[in-house]
Structures are given as structure tokens and as C-alpha cells.
Amino acid sequence: MSINHWADEPLDDDEDSFVRPYTITHGRTVSAHEELTLITIIVALTPPEEQFGTRGLEPEHRLILERCRRPVALAEIAAGLNLPVAVTKILISDLITLGTVAARPPLAVAVGQKPDIRLLQAVRDGLRRL
């Protein structure tokens, strides 16, 4: 197993992110909820202070709960916590299993099919307002 690294620009190697990423997941490398994507929207179901039964969670789990008080994409959580997407998916998967967050999958866009015209109109109107 070798690690290659490529990107358009050098990555920021923040000192505080220098933790072997899968340590946080106790060595798990696969998410129980395989349907999670970069733009799956995550939202906490209860305020963090009311979440019981969350003992045993890693600090990162709690940081995720803080970040998804309002709906936010999985990729934004990963970027905000400076965690790889794969690790973030495993942690969010834990929270889904615990029932503390809900996940909304991206709108299904079938390849070769025309997307819903109302969706496209909404996107167009949004872009025109920029």
C-alpha cells in the first residue's frame, strides 16, 4: 500500500491536522451508510446540549454536531474540520446510527435524462441574482 498525493496546488499541511486520519474512526475505513456523498445535506435533529447517549463519541463527533445545527453539506463539514471526506463519512454515519443527525441525499440526476425543468429554472434564477 502506498500513498500518492496529487492536487492542483500544494495542500495546506496545518500542524493541528497531523493526526493519522483513521485513528479518529478507530481504524474503520468504511462507512456504514454507503449512500453518503459529498453533497449529502446533514442536519442535527436535536440541540447538542440535549443529546443524550452520546458518550463514547470522539470530539470530532461533537464538532460535527455543532456544525450541522443548520443544514450543511458533508463536504463543508469535512473542509471545516480539516478531515478527509472518507473519515467524515464514517463519523457522520455513526451519528446517523445514533439518530442525532439526519441526512438528505442530493437530488437524483439521472444520466441521459433531462433534469426537472423547475429545478433548472430555480438554478437559473438563482444564478441571475448573483
Binding site: I39, V43, A73, A79, P84
Partner: protein, 202 residues
Amino acid sequence: MGYDDSDRRDWSAGGPTPAAVKFLIAGGFGVGKTTMVGAVSEVEPLRTEEYLTVVSVGVDDVDGVGEKDTTTVAMDFGRITVSPELVVYLFGTPGQERFWFMWDDLVLGALGAVVIADTRRLQTSFGSIDFFENRGIPFVVGVNCFDGFQDRTIPEVREALDLDPHVPVLMGDFRQRSVSRDVLLALVEYLMDGHEPASRPS
């Protein structure tokens, strides 16, 4: 669980959970992908990393078992909140398109793509164009002209990239929000026209 749905909804003050779609911004190294993302995003471009597991078939692969390599790819992305119900994400794809085929998450929820081209090295756009054509993902081509410098015409670019005639090609300085926005608008209007994804005769 001790609460009903209305309690949850009251608490998550953001209202309904929005639906998400995304556009992919592709093209070769340093061609201006993050520039375009940053020009239209409501937040500074964010960066995230993904691990891809790829099976490499080495030349010294005598036992027939491909070695598994983990490759890290980095993506810059941005966000446009269209409404409380809809958020559009823009993902700048990493170079090295040969890995994209093993990366289903890249295309999930993707409405379409912008392939950014640099007229001085158009060949760096070939991989992205092939990928989107093969996957049936509609795309437009944006030619990034810093400070309005144009050394090729749109027909020349179209010819060099062997594009189907209906694929929109736009030129401009993508640092300007209005220019980048217009490229995305051209993509959305192209999608609304309902052109079938290009299939290139080989």
C-alpha cells in the same frame, strides 16, 4: 425517540433541509477552476480531501494481483444558496482524470459540468471532455482569457477540441463574477434546451 417531527423542525431553525445539486468545474492544472468557483461562490472556496483506492497494474505484476494504492485528491468547492430549498455546489475537480472513473461520488448529483480550457494547452482539456462524454454528463466549454487576451477564436477552439456543434463555448476572464456566472447560465440554459449528451463517433 422522545420527540416528534414538529419539535425537530422547530429546533432546526434553518427550516426545511435544502436539496443539493452540483456543477463540476473541470480542466487541466492551473487553468482557472478555483478562480471560477471563487468568482461565483458565496463563501471563499473551501478545500477538502478524498482518498481514492485504485488498483494499479504494475509492469512487475507477476502474481496477477494488482497492488492497491491510496491516492489523495483535493478539491476546491463553493456554494450558491438559490433558495431555502435549494443549494448549488460547485466542485473544482482535481486533474488526473484517469482516476475519476473509480470515483462515483464525483458525479452523484451533478447536473452538468464546465470544462475550462486554456488556448495555450488545449490538450489538457481532452481528458475532462472524454470523461463527461463517456458518462453522458452535459458540459459547456469555457475559455479562460485573462485580461481579455484572446489568441484563438471560438471556432478554432471548437475545432481543436473536436466538440459537437451544439456544445456551447464561451470566452472571458473568469475572475469576473459576471463572466463566470454567464458560463454557468449558459450551462443551465443548455440543460434546459434538453440536448442529449454528446456521443462522439470514434
